[in-house]
């Protein structure tokens, strides 16, 4: 009888002890959590930053906090569309966001962004001139470029013995089941349009029909339509040719020296991720400080080193390894990108492209 009583009492004590520990662990964030959402007694300014995942060097936010005493709440999103939904509905008052070119155009059109006062961003002088006055923000009023790149063909030199300079090689039967395409409708339809000599932003129904047919024709030759696994597949030499973003190409080339990247002569897409200040921002001045900080050559250099994509910052470029600077994959000349276009955005265009893509994937 005695030892049963002892067991029960013992168990009760343990449960009470655990409950106490739990309560303590739990009450701590509740206290700080309440403080966060109200900015407490207003001593430290808090900046809400919204960026892609794994898209900033880990030390940058800490360095910013040290320099300016402004706390950074950093959140991440997976696609432009997710970010757009959150900002448009007013959820999460973000001071800084880093969307892609076509999404910035959309947000400008829908009046979701604040203008940026470039006088408050002295480091803007480091952004190369060729990255100013771009199609999505012609007067540089709403955005500052963060990272950029191109779309092109990554190929395995040991598996492809001819020069790669045209999109038509992706339709060559010699490479049946050795071709990888991106599972993204703008890139894939864009590639087909460029191959046929049309614009990547075409809304001409005949041109779009031709592109659709070309892609359906190509389907039997394609090994797979994938996303980020394309890198591992090419490094593992499972395919000869792939459509990739230049940033991924830089990484793949480093991991497997047999790989090479080319921007076809018909032209391609060049893309930008840029920093914007949404209308929901509560700290415009501090946000501009953050943008200025990101444009500081040292910080831009840290970011481009970590992320591995191309930086639009001339100061950062100077600190790069010369072999990377001379690599046309990362830093193509004006000559290479003269036929490159930025994706444009417009609602009916997107609907049409989406329908085409559905038809192609359903075939």
């Amino acid at each position: 009888m005695k030892h049963i009583k002892y067991n029960i009492k013992h168990k009760k004590q343990i449960v009470k002890f655990l409950a106490l520990i739990l309560l303590l662990t739990v009450s701590v964030p509740l206290m700080t959590g309440c403080g966060k959402s109200g900015n407490g007694s207003g001593e430290r300014v808090v900046l809400n930053v919204y960026n892609w995942g794994d898209y900033i060097d880990e030390t940058v936010n800490d360095l910013f906090e040290e320099k300016y005493g402004i706390k950074v709440n950093y959140e991440t999103f997976a696609t432009n569309e997710d970010m757009y939904t959150k900002i448009k509905s007013g959820g999460g008052k973000y001071d800084i966001a880093i969307p892609s070119d076509y999404m910035i155009k959309r947000m400008i059109d829908e009046n979701l962004l604040n203008k940026i006062n470039l006088d408050n961003i002295p480091n803007y002088k480091y952004i190369e001139d060729r990255f100013k006055n771009l199609a999505y923000d012609p007067n540089n009023e709403y955005s500052v470029p963060y990272m950029w790149g191109t779309v092109g063909i990554l190929y395995n030199k040991t598996m492809v013995n001819e020069p790669v300079d045209s999109w038509k090689i992706l339709w060559d039967e010699k490479y049946a089941k050795q071709i990888l395409m991106l599972d993204s409708y703008r890139e894939s339809i864009g590639v087909a349009l460029k191959m046929l000599g049309y614009s990547m932003n075409s809304d001409n129904p005949e041109e779009l029909e031709a592109a659709q047919n070309a892609l359906i024709e190509q389907k039997p030759l394609v090994l797979a339509y994938i996303g980020d696994e394309i890198k591992d597949k090419m490094i593992g030499e499972e395919a000869a040719l792939a459509v990739v973003w230049s940033g991924d190409a830089i990484y793949c080339k480093r991991e497997n020296p047999n790989l090479e990247y080319a921007i076809p002569k018909e032209g391609s897409n060049y893309w930008f991720d840029a920093i914007v200040i949404p209308k929901t921002a509560e700290h415009q001045a501090e946000a501009e400080k953050y943008i200025d900080f990101l444009c500081d050559p040292e910080i831009a250099f840290k970011n481009t080193e970590y992320i591995g994509y191309s930086s639009p910052n001339s100061g950062a470029k100077e600190m790069l390894d010369p072999s990377l600077l001379n690599d046309k994959t990362a830093y193509p000349d004006d000559e290479d990108i003269k036929n490159c276009e930025i994706f444009q955005y417009n609602e009916s265009l997107i609907k049409t492209y989406d329908e085409i893509w559905t038809r192609i994937t359903a075939e």
Partner: protein, 256 residues
């Protein structure tokens, strides 16, 4: 025949665990790529502990899972008992309402909650994330406890009252132990769902509060950083050890 049975079991476990084992092996890979083995290294573990963002997400994930499952379990159990004692018509209506969040796609729940929070001018952050998790957990707890309540002998509660127990004591000492398996199942289910959740969390959080699912999912465009492999390995081993310890204790109790 025995060999076939053992082989079959082995195959099942192999398929279940092979991806996890591969994940763990690649957490030691010096190269970021899954296609290439670049040498054995601990560097991803070191980088993991330097990465404030991932550590903070881990912290919030666990805290939210623990609190939301506890609160949801309490609310859900009490609700289930109430529903169980309702008249037939009311019971059907309430049970159907309970099924709604379960059937609804996560994104509908997530966006509706976000709109609700914005409407009542509650800033998105830890509190809204917690409320959202509690909200989607409660139906699962109710659904776990209800069957146990149905199995309960209808008269056991009256019997307890007859023998002199107050209603509260009758509940605590008689009903609760009987339905405890359902309550525990509900709690574990709620915990797991909360740990896992991405869509609802994404739309109801803010102010720098992220959970692991959001952080990992956001890496989709860039490719999953092996720091995540390191984190997953640590989590898997922790849970495995916990389960071994718990199992050893219960088997020791049974043998004693």
């Amino acid at each position: 025949m025995r060999f076939l049975k053992k082989f079959y079991t082995f195959i099942i476990f192999f398929f279940l665990y092979a991806p996890i084992v591969v994940l763990m092996i690649f957490s030691f890979n010096n190269s970021k790529s899954r296609a290439k083995w670049g040498g054995f290294t601990f560097k991803w573990y070191a980088e993991l502990f330097r990465d404030d963002e991932i550590l903070s997400s881990l912290y919030y994930t666990v805290i939210i899972a623990v609190i939301s499952s506890l609160v949801a379990t309490v609310i859900g159990t009490i609700a289930a008992i109430g529903i169980h004692n309702m008249s037939k018509v009311k019971k059907t209506v309430v049970m159907n309402l309970t099924y709604l969040p379960v059937i609804n796609p996560d994104i509908v729940t997530g966006i509706s909650l976000m709109i609700l929070f914005i409407f009542i001018k509650l800033d998105l952050g830890f509190i809204t994330l917690l409320f959202a998790h509690i909200t989607f957990n409660i139906p699962y707890v109710i659904l776990s406890v209800m069957p146990k309540l149905k199995q309960l002998n209808k008269h056991i509660y009256e019997a307890a009252l007859d023998l002199g127990a107050t209603p509260l004591r009758a509940f605590w000492k008689v009903i609760l132990p009987e339905i405890m398996p359902g309550v525990v199942t509900g709690a574990l289910l709620a915990f797991t769902l909360s740990l896992d959740d991405f869509v609802i969390s994404f739309f109801t959080t803010g102010s720098g509060v992220s959970n692991l699912s959001i952080t990992i999912y956001s890496m989709a465009r860039r490719g999953i950083n092996p720091k995540i492999n390191a984190l997953s390995t640590i989590m898997f081993i922790t849970v495995l050890l916990l389960l071994i310890v718990v199992n050893k204790r219960t088997s020791r109790k049974e043998n004693a």
